[in-house]
């Protein structure tokens, strides 16, 4: 057993649900006790999703515990099949079903005989994988299922498209700025003359999956989800893939160079020409992205040599480390990730860029490290933001786990050239605020804290609070306390009460409500 207050990556089934509900017309049925459908709340609130999340639970209760699920899972599957006619039903095991060890595969096999929808059992082991690994696995499983079937039925179209095209793999629900990144990637590809064949899983229809191999190559923008699918497609269908994350100027340039290489493999044969992106990259770097100029500008000089600590998922933490060190001249004291399964690659990526590398799932370890280093700014997850709050160090959020404020309505990609602008803003603002704070401390603060009266009520002399009543406003949240105290005293004056008792505070509250 492990004492745990908080975790970075969720349980496996969350990953499966994220992938399943990202596809169009796919329904997931969890084998779980009441209350485990919390995923629906998260999707509906954090993403402000306007449609019902296509996830239901086949509820495990006492009866199931005593006698097994029996027909319950099957009848839930056929019911969903009749009600909503999904293309696919993904039966999702949870920690509960992994402990119960029911033969879910058997239920799935039987249910698929009678239902119109396809039914599969998500092949994830609760104990072995986390949310991100499970998402990666489930995506691969679904793609493999439909491609294998298309191949068997020989409905698979294996001819590549006439003009260059790519699939974008790994954009999905509750991902960190995924929607914006996707739009930015599409724009970038468009400008390179590469058509987007398909985006999966977000918004993808299963019936089109058979066309996946028609793309010239695959793009996996995030390391956490999509790599398994990409390697599968490479192995089985000979599709090359790019796993460079186009985050930051140099990474984006590398990414485009890779695209150039892959495009030119076919371009010469099909289009009888070679494409050259060098000029495009130059132009974008110098003028479209402001980040290169920004890091040259005087403003950014102030950042030189400042210290930062970074923590997040492998993709974001590694890319941001690179940006800070190579593109903005900021010293990264420590860079870390919670993606333990990807530790080796992460180490490789940040080698030589930072003083220390931390790979851990324990947020207290990260907190201790930050407290020890005392950087000028932190770039991390929501957790690091709170750590920063506690020890008064500004923090920019660069990675999931996310909060509703990380699903902004405005356009905020992290990838591509617009992404470099967004990141530069984020970084600069974090540091700037930190300096402001500092200088106001040095000069004793801007506001005249010392002069204004500490008490919010005008004159206290004629009214006494009994100790008991005095403690009452202290139970009220700080930001409204002053107002309530004032109201109570006004009420007391109006009613000629000279001593405020606890009784009077409530009477005042009732009165002010009316």
């Amino acid at each position: 057993m492990k004492l745990a207050y908080w975790m970075y990556a969720g349980p496996a089934h969350i990953g499966t649900l994220r992938v399943a509900s990202s596809f169009k017309n796919v329904h997931a049925i969890m084998h779980a006790p009441l209350g485990d459908d919390y995923f629906n709340v998260m999707r509906s609130t954090s993403e402000r999703e306007r449609d019902f999340t296509p996830v239901t639970a086949s509820v495990v209760d006492r009866h199931v515990l005593a006698r097994g699920s029996q027909e319950k899972v099957i009848s839930n599957i056929s019911r969903k099949d009749e009600e909503q006619h999904p293309d696919l039903i993904v039966s999702t095991p949870t920690c509960t079903s992994s402990i119960l060890q029911e033969d879910l595969q058997n239920f799935v096999d039987r249910a698929s005989l009678s239902s119109e929808s396809d039914v599969i059992l998500a092949d994830v082991n609760y104990h072995r994988v986390n949310e991100l690994q499970a998402a990666d696995r489930t995506l691969e499983q679904i793609i493999r299922f439909y491609l294998d079937r298309a191949r068997k039925r020989s409905t698979l179209d294996r001819s590549v498209t006439d003009t260059p095209s790519a699939n974008i793999i790994g954009i999905f629900t509750l991902g960190f700025h995924n929607q914006h990144d996707c739009r930015e990637l599409k724009r970038l590809l468009g400008e390179l003359g590469v058509a987007v064949n398909q985006v999966i899983p977000e918004g993808g229809y299963l019936k089109y999956l058979g066309d996946l191999p028609r793309a010239w190559f695959n793009i996996v923008p995030y390391r956490e989800v999509g790599l398994m699918t990409a390697t599968f497609l490479e192995k089985e269908y000979g599709m090359p893939y790019i796993s460079i994350t186009p985050m930051g100027i140099s990474n984006t340039a590398n990414f485009i160079a890779q695209i150039g290489k892959l495009v030119n493999v076919w371009a010469y044969a099909l289009l009888e020409k070679r494409l050259n992106y060098k000029l495009y990259v130059d132009n974008q770097t110098k003028f479209v992205s402001q980040a290169a100029w920004f890091s040259k500008s005087i403003d950014c000089q102030n950042l030189a040599g400042k210290e930062a600590a970074i923590f997040g998922d492998a993709t974001h933490a590694a890319s941001i480390t690179k940006i800070l060190v190579k593109e903005m001249g900021i010293r990264v004291s420590c860079s870390g990730t919670y993606c333990k399964h990807d530790a080796e690659r992460f180490n490789e990526q940040v080698q030589g860029l930072c003083d220390e590398v931390v790979v851990t799932e324990d947020h207290t370890e990260v907190g201790d490290m930050i407290a020890r280093i005392e950087p000028s700014a932190i770039f991390g997850t929501q957790m690091e933001r709170h750590i920063g709050k506690r020890i008064d160090i500004p923090c920019g959020v660069i990675s999931s786990p996310v909060h509703i404020q990380n699903s902004p309505l405005g356009y905020r990609p992290f990838l591509g050239y617009e992404g470099t602008n967004q990141i530069a803003d984020l970084i600069y603002n974090s540091f700037n605020l930190g300096m402001e704070d500092h200088s106001s401390d040095v000069f004793g603060g801007h506001d005249t804290k010392g002069i204004s009266t500490k008490s919010l009520s005008t004159d206290k002399s004629d009214i006494n609070w009994t100790p008991e009543a005095e403690s009452e406003p202290n139970r009220i949240p700080g930001f409204v306390r002053g107002k309530i105290k004032r109201n109570t005293e006004v009420f007391a004056r109006q009613n000629n009460i000279s001593e405020i008792t606890i009784d009077a505070t409530y009477a005042a509250k009732e009165k002010s409500n009316s």
Partner: protein, 462 residues
């Protein structure tokens, strides 16, 4: 009241969305200041806890997971040793006065004997360990609090009438000296206090003292609350103690205090809304043989305060999807406010514990000339959504999973969980519940025109 008087209920499939009962730690750790809640479960439980109470997680909460790993499930590791190690660490980090183990689905399935281990460990580490099985196999959302409080009734000190009398008298004198206008009550009062009254249900301390005050006005003094602000201040229970619940989801606590601690339960409607509060006080008064004083006048006063809200909601219709067991009481209050309630979904309906509340609901319907709502136990969310499409209520009170999608389908929605965290008990808080209910209705007028249905799914269909 005989149970046969109660209208019939429907019961559906139980496929509905609600919070896992372990969520009770989020408010109970704040209520019981010196406690530490240890949830013995898996990552799934942890993920829920970390996301549901949201920001509170970061304020160094006094709760944590004892996260079981593969070795625990396959019994390669010794549960007791593991828990001992973790509890010792909790003791050295936080030094709580009590550790509350929350059993989860996992501990149920692998049959971990928490109740058996607790007394042994308690002796070893010198901190009381209370075990509550608040799991999703058996319970929904607020019932979690019920399991914790029921477990705590066993830890309450024994009631000794004589000593209590003495103390009560002293307290009464003290208070009497303090509160000058209500002096006259306290002279007659001491005679009534041969018995003691304990209220159960976790409420914010200011709400609890408001209810104390309401009863004090009727010269009934409350001798204690379960839970108390501190674990060491748990109220005495035993023969001669009357107990009364303030929330409709506390049936196990009621049963435990009756059967195991020989207390007498006062079955009253719950003090939600001015009507509920009055009925609650009246029922307690009748048990203590006190003639209630000025209650009607007070209730009318409160209704007057609500007049602006009543104008908004009178005649409007509402459906409860059901997820927190407060539904009957709130529905009753809203009917009294003039609303029409189509459907009351509720996770679990204890007909005996809620009997008085149900009766009041019936009377209210008759009085307000409204039809009795359909009460659906263990509802099926999918069917409920279909029914809502048919009936088109003006307001749906539902969980967050359905709130945004319903809004996108042009059904105004109030998030039900807010009722569990808002202060809706007692007369002083009468405005808070209609404030919540009217919020979606009040913003109605301002919404952008021509975007009534914003769902993408409906677009696809067209």
């Amino acid at each position: 009241m005989k149970t046969s008087d109660i209208p019939t209920f429907e019961c559906e499939t139980g496929n509905y969305h609600t919070f896992c009962p372990i969520s009770c730690v989020a408010w109970l750790y704040q209520k019981i200041e010196d406690s530490f809640f240890l949830v013995v479960g898996t990552k799934t439980c942890g993920y829920f806890l970390q996301n549901a109470p949201g920001v509170m997680t970061f304020a160094e909460p006094r709760y944590a997971m004892a996260e079981s790993e593969e070795g625990d499930i396959s019994a390669q590791l010794n549960d007791q040793k593991e828990l001992e190690r973790i509890c010792l660490r909790v003791r050295s980090d936080r030094n709580p006065s009590v550790i509350i183990w929350i059993g989860t689905c996992t501990t149920e399935i692998i049959k971990m004997d928490l109740e058996g281990m607790a007394p042994k460990l308690e002796k070893q580490i010198g901190i009381p360990i209370v075990v509550a099985r608040a799991n999703g196999l058996d319970y929904a959302f607020t019932q979690g609090e019920d399991t914790v409080l029921a477990a705590m009734t066993h830890r309450c000190p024994e009631f000794h009438p004589r000593v209590m009398n003495q103390q009560e008298g002293d307290v009464a004198k003290l208070v009497a000296a303090d509160v000058s206008p209500s002096n006259k009550f306290f002279d007659e009062k001491i005679g009534l206090n041969r018995c003691s009254l304990v209220l159960f249900g976790s409420l914010p301390s200011s709400v609890a003292s408001q209810l104390n005050l309401e009863l004090k006005r009727q010269s009934i003094s409350v001798s204690g609350w379960l839970p108390s602000q501190k674990y060491n201040e748990l109220p005495a229970l035993g023969e001669g103690v009357y107990v009364c619940g303030v929330n409709p989801f506390l049936s196990r606590t009621a049963t435990a205090s009756m059967r195991r601690r020989k207390c007498q339960l006062i079955g009253a409607p719950f003090p939600i809304g001015p009507d509920g509060t009055r009925a609650w006080i009246e029922k307690i008064c009748s048990v203590f043989d006190v003639k209630p004083d000025g209650l009607e006048e007070r209730e009318n006063q409160i209704w007057k305060i609500l007049i602006d809200y009543l104008e908004i909601i009178t005649g409007k219709s509402v459906s409860f999807m059901g997820d927190n067991l407060l539904e009957i009481s709130i529905a009753r209050f809203l009917i009294r406010c003039g609303m029409v309630v189509y459907e009351v979904g509720i996770p679990y309906m204890d007909r005996r514990y809620q009997a008085a509340e149900l009766l009041l609901l019936q009377q209210t319907c008759k009085k307000m000339k409204r039809p009795m709502p359909r009460i659906v136990e263990k509802p099926d969310n999918y069917s409920q959504v279909q029914r809502m499409h048919e009936l088109q209520p003006d307001l749906a009170i539902t969980g967050m999973a359905h709130a945004n999608p319903s809004e996108a389908r042009d059904i105004d929605t109030k998030w039900s969980v807010e009722f569990t965290f808002a202060q809706i008990h007692g007369s002083a808080n009468a405005r808070d519940a209609p404030e919540l209910v009217t919020r979606p209705l009040r913003r109605r007028g301002d919404s952008v025109s021509d975007c009534r249905s914003l769902s993408r799914q409906t677009l696809d269909v067209q």
